[in-house]
Amino acid sequence: MAERRFADGALVRVRDLAVKGHMRTPFYVRGRQGRVEGCQGSFANPEERAYGANGLPARPLYHVRFRQTDLWPGYGGLAADSLSLDLFEHWLEPAHGG
């Protein structure tokens, strides 16, 4: 497995990459800050596989958790509510709280 850049518990921000074409990073987390819950393993990059390339080298896929109140202005649920999803390492950069 490829070496992980981010440890469990790391604060990360989702980069707003200008990827044209297929990607698996939903718009609603772009630019948002979350916390790494774990790593699902290393996988080939679907953005490249979508066009016939092999998507290698495999890179780490992280499970990242966000506070719902950080994602949706006027979120109607509880402050403790959260959302998590799987994001590839190249979509993440370190965040420093705040």
Partner: protein, 210 residues
């Protein structure tokens, strides 16, 4: 966009005539026959695949949940590697990674695929139409409690709702909270309580049945 197929549900599009339905099915038959002729597929392989998916249903997931409720060591193995654990029960789920998410009185998981319709098919069978439709895919992430309420599910204020969006090569199965009043029940009896919606996370499992 809930109802599939050409039946005349008359939701928010005009009733279909017979012709568009047949056109679609004809096209499927045409493509299938060409693929068979060219040796890419066989009729037997197609029949076998349909049969394989017909064997997959939420009953498989229910057996896994019932075992996890009954056996803490199995539950731990399930949370560590859901595919291996399913294999212990003779359920073949190898393929795309599946992760089990444990619900507790303080944490309720709800699964969605906002980008398409990813679903733990190997353990639950084919997803329901609503799971694949825009209303659920759009709102489960931003207003999960409202969506839960539409399923008749209301959670107490001390329970965190965590939405899990299946964005990559992982599928998620919710391990619902075991209801009170089921102490000493056999696994079969427990499995009978556990429905698909509780393993997606839009419902909770109730012990009392009307």
């Amino acid at each position: 966009m809930a109802a599939e197929q050409g039946q005349d549900h008359g939701h928010d599009h005009p009733p279909r005539s017979d012709h568009p339905v047949r056109a679609w099915e004809k096209r499927e038959a045409a493509i299938r026959s060409l693929l068979i002729e060219k040796g890419l597929l066989t009729a037997d392989a197609i029949r076998a695949k349909i049969e394989e998916w017909e064997q997959k249903s939420p009953a498989l997931g229910a057996r896994i949940v019932a075992r996890a409720w009954s056996d803490p060591a199995f539950e731990a193995r399930l949370l560590a590697d859901a595919i291996e654990a399913a294999g212990e029960l003779g359920i073949e789920a190898r393929g795309v990674k599946i992760v089990a998410l444990k619900n507790t009185p303080r944490l309720h998981h709800l699964v969605v695929c906002t980008l398409c319709s990813c679903y733990p098919r190997a353990l639950l069978g084919l997803p329901p139409a609503w799971y694949k439709a825009p209303a659920y895919r759009s709102r489960a992430v931003s207003e999960p409690r409202a969506v839960l309420a539409e399923f008749g599910t209301r959670l107490p204020p001390e329970t965190e709702v965590r939405v899990v969006d299946s964005t990559a090569d992982c599928r998620y199965l919710v391990l619902p909270v075991r209801p009170a009043g089921t102490e000493g029940w056999s696994e079969d009896r427990l499995a009978g309580l556990i429905g698909r919606d509780a393993m997606i996370g839009v419902a909770v499992v109730q012990a009392a049945r009307a």
